[in-house]
């Protein structure tokens, strides 16, 4: 196929930037900060341009992994360094490479202390995130999956808000607790199947009784990461305390790890257990959608409100994933992608006023439309995209998920749909309180509208949101073949084993 190691390049190019920052940049603090920003922006920007190669060269007619690379790494325990993308992962790679330069740009003036370390953390984070999506070896996947915690811990802990230490620890320990169980499951898989190669494992028929345990172990990890109710409590804390760019990456990419994991591993590898646990997933997801939407309604902190809305949106993702219908799964992926853009944009929007006023309280603001018309416009676009207005990316995802859910279980669809209504309620309520009304507060009188750097950050996100809403085929084409293949595979496996006999599980 393609001998050019594009995926390794995409993964490790940011590390080159890190080395560059560490070795080359010298001088006093101001100079170092300036150059570190520039290097980080150039590296991640170039990486994004490089990732466009995937966009143009990706073959949308096959479900097979593409751009595959494979080198023996620790052969005695079956580890190889293997990378490749298919329709499920390719757009996530692009999402990551797009959001990283945006994050760096958004921190341009907001971060003033330890700029060098900040930029290094973000570049390392990009390496781990891209690596996670393209890994084709289970242990390599796990390494990237968990390594993300290191830069994220540092980003929240060093540059976060008042309760940053608590939030950083909670994030780290919650997700670590989930992941270590997955590690054991990965080792058990190795002894069962004799390989760590994801391509082969996707076809391996695991015994149903074993599937249950493996599924649960993977679930422990992905449910925390995505996050599902009731293990979601780390997310609002992490979001509130993280610096703006940290929230963006958290909402934009890290939350997708869980959804990606379900699609990549839980469904195809443990089809019988998936079938068995679907009611559990539905229940938890609906709880998440309704409960967290209600919680969001009561929030006084903008970031916290968006964090809770993220959990609700991720509830849609899990519902869609486990419907095992084409629409449901495509909707889930689409929802993740559009949420990656919209939620990131919303956090950036909060960041804009936070940079000016240093407050995230909704009550601090009011009547901003009089001083910041451009800001209000952009806020409105993303607010409506988050609500799921037709014409924005958010609509397509939610609609497809509900369509898929309705085919399987109309109650699930009906209950999930209430989340859409509640979503409109809390988002519009927040928007009204911040933007509309009279500009009465003394300290808001001098607030300035978006500057050109901020416009540059939001422009691509707006274009993408509208593009995703108006012409979804250009994205769905990437996804479609892989999703159909995934469903065929799962259904064939379920048919072959005749469903999971519950009696065998207890033994």
């Amino acid at each position: 196929m393609n001998s050019f190691p594009i995926l390794s390049l995409l993964t490790f190019l940011p590390i080159v930037g890190v080395v560059f920052i560490l070795l080359i940049i010298r001088g006093d603090e101001q100079v170092v900060a300036k150059n570190a920003r520039a290097v980080a922006l150039w590296t991640s920007g170039f990486n994004f341009l490089l990732s466009l190669f995937l966009w143009f060269k990706f073959d949308t007619t096959t479900a097979a992994f593409q751009f595959v690379e494979r080198i023996d790494w620790m052969p005695e325990i079956g580890l190889s360094y293997a990378m490749g993308v298919d329709g499920i992962s390719v757009l996530f790679v692009l999402l990551t490479t797009l959001l990283t330069p945006i994050c760096i740009l958004s921190s341009w003036t907001a971060i003033q202390n330890r700029v060098k370390e900040y930029m290094i953390s973000f570049l390392i984070l990009e390496t781990f995130m891209v690596g996670m999506f393209v890994a084709l070896d289970l242990v390599v996947f796990y390494i990237f999956f968990e390594a993300v915690l290191i830069p994220m811990f540092i980003i929240i802990g060093v540059w976060g808000g008042g309760r940053r230490i608590y939030a950083a620890f909670k994030l780290f320990l919650y997700t670590l607790l989930g992941s270590v169980l997955m590690l054991l499951a990965i080792l058990a898989i190795y002894f069962e199947a004799g390989t760590m190669d994801i391509v082969q494992l996707l076809k391996y028929p695991f015994p149903p009784a074993m599937q249950v345990w493996l599924w649960l172990a993977f679930f422990a990890s992905f449910a925390v990461k995505i996050p599902m109710w009731p293990v979601h409590t780390w997310l609002p804390d992490a979001h509130v305390e993280a610096p703006t760019a940290g929230s963006v990456i958290l909402a934009g990419v890290l939350l997708k790890f869980g959804g990606y994991g379900f699609l990549r591993f839980s469904l195809p590898m443990f089809p019988d257990a998936t079938l068995m646990f679907t009611p559990l997933i539905y229940t938890l997801s609906i709880m998440a959608v309704i409960y967290t939407s209600l919680v969001a309604l009561a929030q006084e902190d903008m970031k916290k409100l968006i964090a809770y809305s993220s959990i609700a949106h991720m509830g849609f993702v899990t519902i869609g994933t486990f419907t095992l219908t084409t629409q449901g799964i495509e909707g889930a992926i689409y929802q993740m992608l559009s949420h990656g853009i919209v939620a990131s944009a919303l956090f950036l929007i909060v960041g804009v006023v936070y940079d000016r006023m240093h407050s995230r309280e909704i009550a601090t603001y009011g009547g901003l439309v009089h001083r910041m018309p451009g800001y209000s416009l952009i806020f409105m676009v993303f607010m409506l995209a988050s609500v799921g207005l037709p014409g924005t990316g958010g609509f397509v995802g939610e609609f497809l998920v509900l369509l898929g859910a309705y085919q399987v279980n109309s109650w699930v669809a009906a209950l999930a749909a209430t989340g859409v209504i509640l979503g409109a309620a809390y988002m519009l309520y927040m928007y009204r309180r911040i933007i509309f009304g009279q500009l009465t507060k003394e300290n808001l009188m001098k607030i300035t509208d978006l500057n050109s750097r901020e416009w540059a950050i939001f422009a691509p996100l707006i274009i993408l949101t509208l593009w995703m809403g108006l012409y979804p085929s250009s994205f769905l084409d990437f996804i479609h073949v892989s999703v159909v293949n995934l469903i065929d595979q799962v259904q064939a496996a379920q048919a072959a084993s005749g469903g999971l006999d519950l009696a065998t599980v207890g033994q």
Binding site: I77, V139, I150, G157, A168, V180, L184, L187
Partner: protein, 490 residues
């Protein structure tokens, strides 16, 4: 007529013995009346010791061949011995190197210090080559007696003296247990030779080994567990680690621990291999307890050396998981774990040695506050060690755990593995605490800035090894696999 035994397998040990004797003479005949003279002698002897350890390692690797038994079956040389001795030699050499700055500043610069470390190392090498309960005991005692003295080496310091005495008393009890167990085994089998013991146990028939024999094994196990500071025989560890001078603690945490675990493995999968059903449950229990105590007791420590003591108890627990598996893969896991543990621990203690304020050692965890601003490189390296000890990929510590847990899953010890990963999450909490203090808090009273370049380079090299382990794991992994296979002949 007495036949000359084959000396070749023991050549490295013989070489080291000669070096020790000559260094002792050399030191004794130097002018040590003045502080300056003492210091010079110490420096020369120290570097000669490091050189000698390196040469011993070289000799060992060059002359390592197939499995050979000599001295009437008392002494064995195989790849397992070579691998674990290499770790011990490396650990001792690094311990001497990182001591240099400290012992000069703390006025304990005496040439006996490196010589005693060499003596202890020799004892460890004999332990690792023991093929008989007698030679096992001799090696162990030679090591222990030297260690007791080193623990109390700072004679005018009350805590150091206390550490030495405590170590001696409790160590003597453990040696007694071991000796008692050995005598029971001898009484019930009539031999102390490992090879013969293995045959006797393998042919013990349907009724299995007698109760007295099992008692003997339990006593031996208890004695060994004491030496690796596994729970419930760990009580001495925090006090000794805290009281002993810091470079001595670094040495204690590395070389004797590796040697004792090596011995543990040799005894358990050697002579007692066919009694795995009897000892496996004990080892599992000891491993579980060590991991739990290591994780939970460390949380509230304020002294970093004490915290490291509990951390080392926890690490012993993880290493014992591999032993509990009782397979070649398990032993490989332990050896890989110990190799990585060596680098992490030496690196961490080198960082602790940096902690000085107003030219005095400080040991509080809170003293690290704001280290990332005042000493960015040291802070970065120490966080690498901490993340690695917590087992976060892609750092080396993760791979150590990976191999150990792999063996546990293979041996179907699922419960043990689950407890292992859960305690590693608890452990992560206190490792993260160090990082938090260094990175998230501001320095109130910064540490001294005159760090010896020797320490800095050791720290940097160790951190580089930990970070880059994944690039080239083969040297450690493959050799560990060969070494582990040597314990399972046929």
């Amino acid at each position: 007529m007495a036949v000359m035994p084959n000396l070749l397998p023991a050549l490295p040990e013989l070489f080291l013995t000669l070096v020790i004797l000559s260094l002792l003479m050399f030191g004794a005949f130097q002018n040590t009346d003045s502080d300056n003279g003492q210091q010079q002698t110490q420096t020369v002897v120290s570097w000669l010791s490091v050189l000698a350890l390196g040469l011993t390692l070289l000799l060992m690797v060059v002359f390592s061949g197939t499995r050979t038994v000599t001295f009437s079956g008392m002494f064995i040389s195989d790849s397992f011995a070579v691998y674990s001795k290499a770790l011990v030699l490396g650990g001792s050499a690094l311990a001497i190197i990182i001591s240099q700055d400290f012992i000069v500043r703390e006025r304990m610069s005496r040439f006996e210090y490196p010589v005693l470390i060499l003596l202890a190392t020799l004892g460890m090498m004999l332990m690792l080559s023991a093929n008989n309960l007698m030679s096992l005991y001799l090696g162990l005692e030679m090591q222990s007696l030297s260690l007791y003295i080193i623990a109390a080496f700072k004679r005018d310091d009350q805590r150091s003296a206390e550490a030495g005495l405590k170590y001696f008393v409790l160590g003597a009890v453990a040696s007694g247990l071991l000796l008692y167990g050995s005598s029971l085994v001898y009484g019930f089998t009539g031999t102390t030779d490992f090879t013969v013991l293995a045959e006797i146990f393998a042919n013990s028939g349907a009724e299995g080994p007698s109760t007295g024999l099992i008692f003997g094994i339990v006593f031996i196990l208890a004695g060994l567990a004491f030496k690796v500071s596994a729970v419930p025989f760990h009580m001495w560890t925090p006090d000794v680690y805290e009281g002993a001078p810091t470079p001595v603690t670094a040495f204690f945490a590395v070389a004797p621990k590796i040697a004792a675990l090596g011995l543990f493995m040799r005894v358990m999968v050697g002579p007692f291999s066919s009694m795995i059903e009897q000892w496996q449950q004990i080892v599992i229990l000891v491993a579980v307890l060590s991991m739990i105590v290591g994780a939970f007791a460390a949380i509230n420590q304020r002294n970093i050396k004490r915290m490291m003591a509990y951390s080392s108890i926890g690490h012993a627990g993880y290493a014992l998981i591999g032993l509990a598996a009782g397979t070649s893969d398990g032993i490989r896991g332990v050896l890989i774990y110990l190799s990585i543990y060596l680098f992490m621990t030496i690196g961490t203690f080198a960082c602790i040695l940096v902690m000085r304020r107003g030219d005095r050692m400080v040991e509080g965890i809170d003293d690290l506050a704001g280290l990332s601003k005042t000493h960015p490189l040291i802070a970065l390296c120490l966080s690498v060690f901490m993340f690695s000890m917590a087992g976060i990929p892609p750092l080396a510590g993760f791979f150590g755990k990976l191999y150990v847990f792999l063996a546990a899953i293979e041996a179907e010890l699922y419960g043990l593995a689950v407890i292992g990963v859960l305690t590693s999450v608890v452990g992560a909490y206190y490792y993260l605490r160090i990082i938090r203090i260094m990175y998230f808090e501001e320095a109130t009273d910064p540490l001294d800035n005159n760090i010896s370049s020797l320490l800095t380079s050791v720290i940097t090299v160790m951190a580089a090894i930990i970070v880059l382990f994944f690039v080239l794991p083969q040297p450690i992994v493959n050799n560990a696999a060969i070494a582990a296979a040597a314990l399972f002949p046929g």
